[in-house]
């Protein structure tokens, strides 16, 4: 039971905040459902722009490959967030998260980041190798000193 001026005011503000957050959630869910927020590449590694540029005009661009690290990150996120939500709804308060569960999410996230790092390093190295070869084959280049 809310009584008094400040009690009513705080209850009204709490109600407005709750409605705003719920409307945000419903808008996002609706846009995901109607495909205005596109989930097609949720699990995909970004396509290589150089490879895409080399594809002929009449050939559809290659669909990026699904990423295993993204998939397992999604699974762990949904499982832990889902369990957390269920326990919070049951107990009516924020439940404690053990340290090892945070470590589990950390392992998953670190693996995802390391996977992206390996890919980026491979691409950078490939471009560097191509640039070195192109410089060596350029007219007037010194094949011994590389200049």
């Amino acid at each position: 039971m809310v009584t008094g001026y400040w009690g009513i005011l705080s209850a009204v503000i709490a109600g407005c905040l709750a409605v705003v957050i719920c409307v945000f959630a419903l808008i996002i869910a609706w846009r995901v459902f109607t495909n205005q927020i596109n989930l097609t590449y949720l699990l995909a590694e970004p396509a290589d722009p150089d490879a895409q540029a080399m594809i002929a005009d009449n050939v559809p661009p290659e669909v990026p490959k699904a990423s295993l690290s993204r998939f397992q990150f999604l699974i762990f996120t949904f499982v832990i967030a889902g369990v957390y939500l269920v326990l919070c709804l049951e107990s009516g308060k924020f439940v404690d998260i053990p340290q090892n569960v945070i470590l589990l999410l950390g392992v998953s996230g670190t693996s995802y980041a390391a996977s992206k790092g390996i890919q980026a390093a491979a691409k950078t190295s490939q471009k560097h190798s191509e640039a070195v070869v192109a410089a060596a084959n350029a007219p007037g280049a010194d094949p011994v000193n590389g200049a």
């Binding site: 959630a25 869910a29 369990v83 998260i97 589990l104 670190t110 996977s115 691409k123 190295s125």
Partner: protein
């Protein structure tokens, strides 16, 4: 004035949102709108699948299912179920195997300088 319905309204909305978004993602994976093609390969053009990717997928699904069963089987609890160190080590080892293989294959195919 009673606001007793407000927490219940937010709880139901959040739970419904979570289920709806999860359901849409699952449905789109099943129908192929979210492509899963090439998940078990380093290179889309290669044939077959790679064992280190298959083992990471299997370990991930087993651990996630096991955690879910433990968590929901405890009834009313005040904390998330803890994860034992061997469980954590198994997940970390699985990820290291995956990353090690990915690194080696990136050196082999991705144009990194040779060893």
């Amino acid at each position: 004035m009673s606001w007793i319905w407000l927490p219940r309204f937010v709880e139901i909305t959040v739970a419904a949102w979570f289920v709806a978004v999860g359901g849409v993602i699952l449905l789109r994976m099943i129908t192929g709108a979210i492509p899963l093609d090439g998940m078990l390969k380093h290179d889309r053009r290669s044939f077959g699948l790679e064992f280190h990717r298959l083992q990471l997928l299997a370990v991930t699904l087993m651990m996630a299912a096991g955690y879910l069963i433990i968590a929901l089987g405890r009834g009313h609890a005040q904390t998330l179920p803890d994860v034992s160190p061997p469980f954590l080590l198994a997940v970390a080892g699985s990820h290291l195997t995956y990353l090690g293989n990915k690194f080696a294959q990136s050196r082999k195919w991705g144009g990194m300088t040779s060893w």
